[in-house]
C-alpha cells in the first residue's frame, strides 16, 4: 500500500481536458444504494479485466491535532484482515485469483483498488464489502504497521530532500488549515495511535454513505449490480460528522523556509496558494503552469535551464485539492547556485506575463499539451475507471471528466494574464529551499 500525495491526483484531475476537436466520452451508469453508497459502472470488454475501486471521503484533513497520519495508518490496517478473510487468507485468495491490490491516502480521500481478471469480480466485491465493516484491529498488527509506516516516512521524507520540501511547504502555506500537516503524519503522532482510536476512526468514516464504488472493465452490468446489492446492500450507513471547512486566511507577506541538508546541490520552489478543484480559475492556472514550466520550450525552462544554464531541471504545476490549491515552480539548481538570484529571475519572468501576457501560440501549445495528456491517461481500463472516480469524489459528478476538457479551449491570453496577476505575487509567495551543508 502506498501513501499517495494528494497533489498528484488533484493534478491528474486537471488532466481531463479536451481541445475543442476532441470529444471523448463513454457510457457510465451511476446509481445509489439505499444505504447511500454511490456506484459507477463502466463497461469495457477490450480485455478480460475489471478495475474495482472504492474510495472513502476521508483523508488527512479530517484528522485531529495529535493524531496526524491516522487516515494513512488506517489504510495500512485495512490489509490486516477480517473474521471472514483473515490476513493470510486475504493475501492467498487475492494472489491465487490473480488480483493486483493496492491503496493510497491523500489529504481528501482514501482509495482502495483491486485489478482483477473479470471472472473474479465477485471475489473483489466480497472482499471490499467485508472490510468496509468487519475489519479486525488488534494491537500486534497495529504495532507492526506503525513500524512500517515509520519506515515509509523515513523513505519518503526524512531521507528524501524533495519529500522534506513538500512537507515543509504544506506547513508554511497553511497555518490554520489541516492541509498543513503531512498525510503520512508526524512520527510521534503515528506512534501514539491505539486500536481504540483506529476503531473510532473506522466507525466514523468507513461506511457506504461516505464512499464511492467505481467498477470498470469486462463486466455484465446486471450481474455486477446484483453482486453489489448482495455484498454491500446490507451494510448500514453511519451518521457522518460535520466536516470542518476552515478557511486559511490570506497571506500578507512573503514566507521563506530553509532546510539544511547534506545534498550536492540546492533546490528551490516558489509556491502560491491558488484555486481549489472545480474553481473556474483552475483552467487558466493549469495552462499558465504549462507555459511557464512544462517541457524544454516552456518559458522558465528555456531561460533558466537552457539559455542561462543555471539549473539541471525545472517544472511548474498547479495543484487543486478539495478545499484549496497551490501553484508551484520547482528548480533543481546547480551546485553553486544562488537561491535569491534564482528567485528574482523567476519573479521577473512572472512579471513579464503579468505585464504582457503570453502569445497565442504559447496558449495553444499548452491546450494541446493538456489534450494529449488527457488521452494518454485513458489508455487502460484502470486509468479510465480511476479518472471517473476522481471526478466523482472531488466534484460529485464523474461527467466532469468529459465536460471540463472543453473549458480549456475557452481560456484566453487575457485570462492567463489575469490569473498571473491575481495569484503570483510576491506577498503571496512561499519559498522553500534546500540548502546544501557539508557532513561532519
Amino acid at each position: 500500500m502506498h501513501f499517495f500525495v494528494g497533489i498528484v491526483l488533484a493534478f491528474s484531475l486537471s488532466l481531463p481536458l479536451l481541445a475543442s476537436e476532441l470529444d471523448i466520452s463513454f457510457d457510465v451508469e451511476k446509481y445509489k444504494l439505499e444505504n447511500g453508497l454511490t456506484v459507477l459502472l463502466y463497461k469495457d470488454s477490450s480485455a478480460p479485466i475489471v478495475s474495482h475501486n472504492i474510495w472513502y471521503r476521508v483523508g488527512s484533513k479530517d484528522e485531529e491535532v495529535g493524531f496526524t497520519g491516522l487516515a494513512h495508518l488506517f489504510e495500512h490496517m485495512m490489509f490486516r484482515g477480517t473474521k471472514k478473510y483473515p490476513k493470510k487468507k486475504f493475501m492467498e485468495l487475492t494472489e491465487s485469483s490473480g488480483i493486483q491490490k493496492n491503496a493510497f491516502t491523500s489529504s481528501d480521500y482514501t482509495g482502495y483498488y483491486l485489478i482483477a481478471p473479470s471472472s473474479k469480480l465477485e471475489i473483489a466485491i466480497d472482499i471490499e464489502a467485508d472490510r468496509m465493516k468487519n475489519l479486525i484491529v488488534d494491537q500486534a498488527a497495529l504495532n507492526a504497521e506503525i513500524e512500517i509506516v515509520k519506515e515509509e516516512r523515513r523513505q519518503r521524507v526524512d531521507n528524501n530532500p524533495r519529500g522534506l520540501m513538500y512537507e515543509r511547504l504544506m506547513a508554511t502555506l497553511y497555518k490554520v488549515h489541516p492541509y498543513r500537516w503531512p498525510v503520512i503524519g508526524y512520527m510521534k503522532d503515528v506512534e501514539r495511535v491505539t486500536p481504540e482510536k483506529c476503531i473510532e476512526f473506522y466507525d466514523t468514516f468507513y461506511s457506504p454513505n461516505n464512499a464511492v464504488l467505481a467498477i470498470g472493465g469486462d463486466i455484465d452490468i446486471e450481474k455486477t449490480k446484483s453482486y453489489i446489492q448482495k455484498y454491500f446492500g446490507s451494510i448500514k450507513p453511519s451518521v457522518l460528522p460535520e466536516r470542518s471547512n476552515i478557511v486559511e486566511p490570506n497571506q500578507s507577506r512573503r514566507r521563506i523556509s530553509k532546510i539544511k541538508k547534506e545534498v550536492q546541490a540546492p533546490m528551490l520552489s516558489l509556491n502560491y496558494r491558488s484555486a481549489k478543484v472545480g474553481e473556474e480559475d483552475g483552467f487558466a492556472l493549469h495552462l499558465l503552469s504549462s507555459i511557464l514550466g512544462e517541457g524544454a520550450s516552456s518559458r522558465l525552462y528555456d531561460k533558466i535551464v537552457y539559455r542561462d544554464q543555471d539549473a539541471t531541471g525545472l517544472y511548474a504545476y498547479n495543484s487543486g485539492s478539495q478545499q484549496d490549491g497551490f501553484f508551484q515552480i520547482f528548480v533543481a539548481m546547480k551546485p553553486n547556485g544562488k537561491a535569491r538570484r534564482m528567485e528574482n529571475k523567476i519573479a521577473r519572468e512572472i512579471e513579464r506575463i503579468q505585464k504582457k501576457s503570453v502569445t497565442q501560440r504559447e496558449l495553444q501549445k499548452a491546450i494541446n499539451q493538456v489534450s494529449s495528456t488527457y488521452v494518454r491517461g485513458l489508455t487502460s481500463i484502470h486509468g479510465k475507471t480511476e479518472a471517473l472516480m476522481l471526478n466523482e469524489i472531488l466534484l460529485g459528478d464523474y461527467s466532469y471528466l468529459f465536460k471540463d476538457l472543453k473549458k480549456y479551449s475557452t481560456v484566453t491570453t487575457a485570462d492567463i494574464q489575469r490569473v498571473a496577476k491575481k495569484y503570483l505575487n510576491k506577498n503571496s509567495r512561499v519559498v522553500i529551499e534546500v540548502v546544501p551543508v557539508k557532513g561532519k
Binding site: G98, S118, I146, E147, N159, S372
Partner: protein
C-alpha cells in the same frame, strides 16, 4: 505483409486450478510486421479506440558498447539527437514537438537505445517529419554538446541525493565490476569530461542502422502508414553493426559486503544478490515463478516475514533482470539503521530456506495464478503489447513465448521451480551493498567480509 495471428488458447495442460483466472477464449491481440526497403523492421499495432499515435524505435545497441574510459557514450549520443536536427535548432525542435502536445524522449539500456515520440493521431504527419529529422539528421553541434554535458555531469553528482538510486547503482558496480552491466547509462564524470562531439558522431555512425533496429508504430493510423514510413525512414542508410563482446561477469566468493557510508542517512538502503542468468535460459518462467514466491508486489515470503511480521521495512522486493549474456538477481529493501543487520541476516536466511527446503505446492499454485492474472493486463492495450514484443525482439525470443505463455505457466510443477531455484540462486555467494551511516558497520561484520567506503 506478414500477418501474425495468435492462436486461441483452449488447451489446458496439467493442473488447471489456476486456469480460471483467464477465460479460455482469451487471445493475444494481433499485430503486423513489415520490412522497409532498407531493412528496418516495422511492427504495427493498430488501436482505433483513442486518437493517439506513437512510434518507438529500438536500436539494439546500448551502453554495453561503451568501452572502458568511454562510459556515457551511448547515452550522450541518444540525448544529443534532438538537440538540433534537420532544419531545427534544439529549442525550436522542442517547441515544435511540444506545440503539438507531443512528447519525445530517449532512453538507453545495456543493449538497447529507445527513441519514442507520442501524441494525438491528428498530428501523425508532423510527428513523422520531426521524428525522422531527429533520427536521420541530428546536428551534433559543439555548443549543444557542451551544454548537455554540463547538465549531465551535474545530474550525476546529484545521484548521491537519491538513496535508492544510488544504492542500486552501487550494487550494479559491485556485482559486475568491470563488466559493462556494472556501468550506468549516464557514465562517469571523468569519461564525460574527456568526451568529444566527434566521439558521438562516430558512435552514431557505428551503431545506428536500420538492420539493427525495430520500429513499433502504435495507435490510430491510416492504411497507407507503411508507405509514409518508407518516405520518412527509407533513406536511413543500412550498414552492418557489430556490438562489442565482453567476457562473463565475475561471481561472488562468499558473502562480500560493501558499506557506502554517508552519515546523515536516517534509513539504510540494502541490496543483496549476485550475477544471474541470461534471458534465453529454458527455465526462465520457472525461475520467475520461484522468485515470485520469494517476493512479488505486496506478497511473498520476504514481505510476510520482514515487513508484515517484523515491521522492519516499508518494502522488500526480489527482482531478476536479464541481459544478453547474463543478468542479476537482487533483493532490494531499506530499514532503520539499527535494524540493518537483522534485515540482511533474515533476507539471507530466506534465500537459504528457499533453496534448501524448496517451495510448497500451494505457493507454486498461487505464484502461477499471480502471473496468469497479470498476463491480460500486461498486454491489455496495443501499446503494452508493443512494449512486450520489442523486448522479445531484443532478446531474440520468438513470439510463441506470448502464444504459449498461459500453457507454459500452467504446466510448471513444484519440482520444476525447485530445480530452477537450486540452479540459479546461490545464497552462499552473495554481494551486498548497504548505503547508510558508518555506524551500521558493526552489524555487518558478523555477516560477511566488509569493506567501508566513506562518501
Amino acid at each position: 505483409m506478414r500477418l501474425l495471428l495468435f492462436a486461441i488458447i483452449t488447451l489446458c495442460l496439467g493442473a488447471c486450478a489456476t486456469s480460471s483466472t483467464i477465460p479460455n477464449n482469451f487471445k493475444v491481440p494481433e499485430y503486423q510486421e513489415k520490412t522497409l526497403s532498407n531493412g528496418l523492421k516495422v511492427l504495427l499495432f493498430k488501436d482505433d479506440r483513442l486518437p493517439a499515435f506513437s512510434m518507438e524505435l529500438m536500436i539494439m545497441s546500448g551502453y554495453a558498447n561503451d568501452s572502458m574510459a568511454k562510459s556515457g557514450m551511448a547515452n550522450m549520443t541518444a540525448s544529443m539527437l534532438n538537440k538540433g536536427a534537420g532544419k531545427y535548432s534544439a529549442q525550436k525542435l522542442a517547441e515544435e514537438i511540444e506545440f503539438l502536445g507531443s512528447k519525445y524522449g530517449s532512453s538507453v539500456g545495456s543493449e538497447s537505445t529507445n527513441l519514442k515520440i507520442s501524441g494525438l493521431s491528428t498530428n501523425t504527419d508532423r510527428m513523422l517529419e520531426l521524428f525522422s529529422q531527429i533520427l536521420l539528421q541530428p546536428r551534433f553541434q559543439k555548443k549543444e554538446f557542451h551544454r548537455l554535458r554540463k547538465r549531465t555531469i551535474a545530474s550525476i553528482k546529484k545521484q548521491l541525493d537519491s538513496p535508492s538510486g544510488f544504492a542500486s547503482k552501487s550494487f550494479d558496480e559491485f556485482v559486475f565490476g568491470e563488466h559493462p552491466y556494472g556501468r550506468t547509462a549516464a557514465g562517469e564524470i571523468k569519461d564525460l569530461n574527456s568526451m568529444r562531439v566527434s566521439d558521438l558522431k562516430n558512435y552514431y555512425q557505428k551503431y545506428y542502422s536500420p538492420k539493427n533496429s525495430y520500429l513499433a508504430v502504435v495507435g490510430k493510423f491510416d492504411p497507407n502508414i507503411v508507405s509514409r514510413l518508407e518516405e520518412s525512414f527509407g533513406s536511413w542508410e543500412n550498414k552492418p553493426v557489430k556490438n562489442l563482446n565482453f567476457s562473463e561477469a565475475p561471481k561472488a566468493k562468499g558473502i562480500e559486503i560493501r558499506l557506502m557510508a554517508k552519515e546523515d542517512l536516517k534509513q539504510s538502503q540494502v541490496r543483496i544478490g549476485h550475477v544471474g542468468p541470461e534471458r534465453k535460459i529454458k527455465e526462465y518462467l520457472e525461475l520467475r515463478v520461484g522468485l515470485g514466491i520469494l517476493g512479488s508486489g505486496l506478497s511473498g515470503r520476504l514481505m510476510e516475514e520482514i515487513r508484515s511480521k517484523r515491521g522492519l521495512t516499508y518494502g522488500i522486493y526480489s527482482g531478476v533482470s536479464f541481459g544478453k549474456t547474463s543478468g542479476k538477481i537482487v533483493v532490494r529493501s531499506s530499514t532503520r539503521n539499527e535494524k540493518v543487520g537483522e534485515l540482511v541476516g533474515e533476507s539471507i536466511r530466506q534465500l537459504e530456506l528457499l533453496v534448501d527446503q524448496g517451495v510448497t505446492s500451494d505457493e507454486v499454485k498461487r505464484s502461477k495464478a499471480y502471473f496468469l492474472g497479470n498476463f491480460p493486463r500486461a498486454i491489455e492495450t496495443p501499446a503494452k503489447l508493443a512494449g512486450n514484443i520489442l523486448t522479445l525482439r531484443l532478446w531474440g525470443i520468438e513470439d510463441s513465448y506470448l502464444n504459449d505463455y498461459i500453457k507454459n505457466i500452467n504446466s510448471i510443477s513444484k519440482s520444476d521451480v525447485n530445480r530452477a531455484l537450486r540452479k540459479y540462486l546461490d545464497p552462499k555467494n552473495l554481494k551486498i551493498v548497504v548505503f547508510g551511516p558508518s555506524s551500521v558497520a558493526e552489524q555487518l561484520r558478523e555477516i560477511g567480509v566488509l569493506k567501508v567506503e566513506n562518501l
